[in-house]
């Protein structure tokens, strides 16, 4: 018994080292640094322990509060859109028809393109003079052209569109996997009972899809909370801080301004928000798994 435990531990060791080095250590280090005042461009001030000061500052920082609102707005707008679109795409891809393999491959393209590249593409789409966006809306009538990336209300929308375009296929993929685990007999049985297509969807598909949907929700929430590259390429946080999401704000503090302590406090803040949400989801996910286990 003991030796088999030891063997198991041995097999686990590489993963433990990997997780420890690349996940736990950086998190721990960020936590530690967040209790210091450390400004890289002013080395003579040294590294001073300041207790909770960075967190007190963060709590009262109006830019951080605005940034949190921007980030949460991004999360609550992108996720329903991604789940809705992803579900629709998955339902289509799940049907048997000619060219289904090709369609499945095509749908994944936005997800496969590196975000930096697709953000650049969306930046062109939303260009105020030559962008496709204005051309589609207004044709050649240049006097009505909008400048989405220059407008504090439209700029976040532009980022949202780019994000949904990119990640809906990923959600579709998870949901498609979920759909394929639903046995055909259930639909047959429902058909015999006289269920309509809508009733089948509502009472067979959706309940059985719950774990897949929750999984997609979990992944997307954590990812959306950390959104960075779209903002970095498309707007750099502007105009008027309208797209200054938390990760970008923290990045600017640490990497541009050299304010390592305060920036780390922001990073820890993002981490805690993600952690709390993930734990909440996991509880729900677990509960839904239990529901399905036969008694």
């Amino acid at each position: 018994m003991r030796s088999s435990h030891r063997l198991a531990f041995l097999f686990l060791l590489p993963s433990l080292i990997f997780v420890g080095l690349f996940a736990l250590y950086p998190i721990f280090e960020s936590f530690r640094l967040s209790f210091y005042r450390l400004i890289l461009t002013l080395p003579w001030l040294g590294q001073k322990m300041v207790g909770w000061e960075n967190y007190v500052d963060l709590w009262t920082d109006p830019v951080a509060a605005e940034s949190l609102r921007t980030t949460l707005f991004f999360v609550v707008t992108t996720i329903p859109l991604e789940l809705g679109l992803g579900l629709a795409m998955a339902l289509v891809m799940n049907e048997a028809f000619r060219g289904r393999g090709l369609l499945r491959a095509i749908v994944l393209i936005p997800w496969a393109i590196p975000t930096v590249v697709s953000s650049q593409m969306w930046r062109f789409v939303f260009n105020d003079r030559y962008g496709l966006f204005n051309f589609v809306l207004f044709g050649g009538d240049a006097s009505r052209y909008l400048a989405p990336l220059a407008d504090p209300t439209l700029a976040p929308m532009a980022i949202i569109v780019a994000e949904v375009w990119k990640t809906a296929p990923f959600v579709a993929l998870i949901i498609l996997a979920g759909l394929q685990t639903i046995p055909d007999e259930l639909y047959e049985a429902a058909g015999i009972d006289g269920a309509t297509a809508w009733q089948k969807f509502r009472h067979v598909t959706l309940p059985l899809l719950r774990p897949a949907l929750l999984l997609a929700l979990l992944f997307r929430t954590i990812d959306a909370l950390r959104v960075f590259d779209l903002v970095f390429v498309m707007t750099q946080g502007g105009p008027a801080d309208a797209t200054n999401v938390l990760s970008f704000y923290g990045y600017k503090k640490i990497f541009a301004e050299g304010m390592v302590g305060y920036g780390s406090a922001i990073a820890v803040g993002v981490f805690l928000v993600s952690l709390i949400l993930s734990l909440a989801y996991l509880r729900v996910l677990k509960a839904s798994r239990l529901e399905r286990t036969p008694r």
Binding site: P43, D128, T235, A240
Partner: protein, 388 residues
């Protein structure tokens, strides 16, 4: 512009191979990239280019190598003074100026002549002329003015030109307090918001850096344009511009009673403190900034040189006659104040400028006071005594 000089240098110094890494066009993003390498004490990077606002930060952080041993005072006198001062920090020099930049006003000579106007000397004049031309031209795509108003470093350059030409300032370098909330500064910002953005300039400029704003001008869709000296050659190149030969270039206007102010820009060559080949790196810096190379680069790229002697060089002036008129602007160009906490100050100012320009209903006085308070908090760090 780099390939040929590098090849020449390698030929002169057998066994030396220079690897050039290409960075992003935006100064803000390049800053992040280079400081990342310096924070990691990267010994691979021997030398780098430095924007005119970086030397104090890089010197204070201990990232840039002091060059006094190589770069004598007599040699420093051969360069324009403003960029040399920008490269000095606490009595030492940390970079050698490679190019100099200063804000300039470009205008459509053909349009101004058509309506019998003379180039504007004040900002209100510029607005009036632009409005008249827009009304009479009736071209829905034409705008009166294009500049750089995105939330990034260029916004500081553009806005300081308005503020300083109204007798205001960004902060007081002696007393170390922000002056953004002073009446002159606030008045200039209000002018830009109420008379320029959404008026003679379309709101799209709030997302423009240099390239986008220049394209608007070279497409013939802007009457006035604020940019650096490089725009002259681009706008006069028939391959890249629809308005070649139809443009004029003058110093930037001022507010009535004030003096026009050009923000000083430009790039320096500096050596990394972590380089293991600083002697060799210096040889390359000296080579790139030598009289011969500066002349060659100036002639081939049209970018403004930093050596004084080239502004009297017949061959240079024959090919780039505009340098003669730029001389005065360069001599008077105003640097952004040098400080190791420039980036945090800049981010606060960018936030303030972008907010009041993009949101027309904001209370400028209130925002200016908040920005000044935040800036003072950062400036206070400089008063602190060193840790034991």
């Amino acid at each position: 512009m780099w390939d040929q000089p590098i090849a020449d240098f390698e030929k002169q110094n057998p066994g030396v191979k220079i690897i050039r890494e290409i960075g992003p066009q935006s100064s803000t993003q390049l800053h992040d990239l280079i400081t990342q390498k310096l924070k990691n004490r990267d010994t691979e990077m021997d030398l780098f280019v430095m924007d005119v606002i970086w030397p104090a930060e890089f010197a204070s952080a201990g990232w840039a190598f002091p060059l006094d041993r190589f770069f004598s005072l007599a040699e420093q006198k051969q360069f324009l003074d403003a960029p040399i001062q920008a490269n000095r920090y606490r009595g030492q020099v940390f970079g050698v100026p490679l190019f100099i930049d200063a804000g300039l006003l470009y205008y459509r000579k053909d349009l101004l002549e058509k309506y019998r106007m003379s180039p504007p000397r004040t900002w209100p004049e510029l607005v009036e002329e632009a409005k008249t031309i827009l009304t009479r031209e009736k071209d829905p795509q034409l705008v009166g003015f294009s500049g750089q108003f995105k939330q990034y470093e260029g916004l500081i350059c553009n806005m300081m030109e308005y503020i300083l030409s109204n007798g205001g300032n960004l902060w007081d370098d002696k007393r170390m307090v922000s002056t953004l909330n002073q009446p002159n500064a606030v008045e200039a910002v209000r002018f830009v918001r109420d008379r320029i953005i959404g008026q003679i300039a379309h709101r799209g400029v709030l997302a423009y850096e240099e390239p986008e704003s220049l394209v608007l001008f070279t497409e013939g869709k802007a009457v006035f344009h604020r940019n650096w000296p490089y725009a002259w050659n681009v706008a006069n190149d028939p391959q890249r511009s629809k308005i070649a030969g139809k443009i004029g270039m003058i110093p930037l206007p001022s507010f009535p009673g004030g003096k026009g102010v050009a923000a000083l820009g430009g790039w320096q060559l500096a050596i990394s403190r972590f380089s293991k080949k600083s002697e060799l790196a210096w040889r390359f810096v000296a080579f790139m900034t030598s009289h011969t190379m500066q002349k060659r680069i100036t002639l081939s790229t049209g970018r403004a040189p930093t050596r004084v002697a080239l502004y009297n060089d017949r061959e240079v002036l024959d090919q780039l006659p505009q340098l003669e008129s730029l001389w005065e602007t360069f001599k008077q160009a105003v640097p952004r104040p040098t400080t190791p906490v420039y980036v945090p100050l800049s981010n606060i100012m960018q936030r303030y400028f972008s907010s009041v320009l993009a949101l027309p209903d904001t209370d400028i006085d209130n925002r200016a006071a908040l920005a000044a308070r935040d800036m003072n908090r950062v400036l206070d760090l400089l008063r602190e005594a060193p840790a034991r």
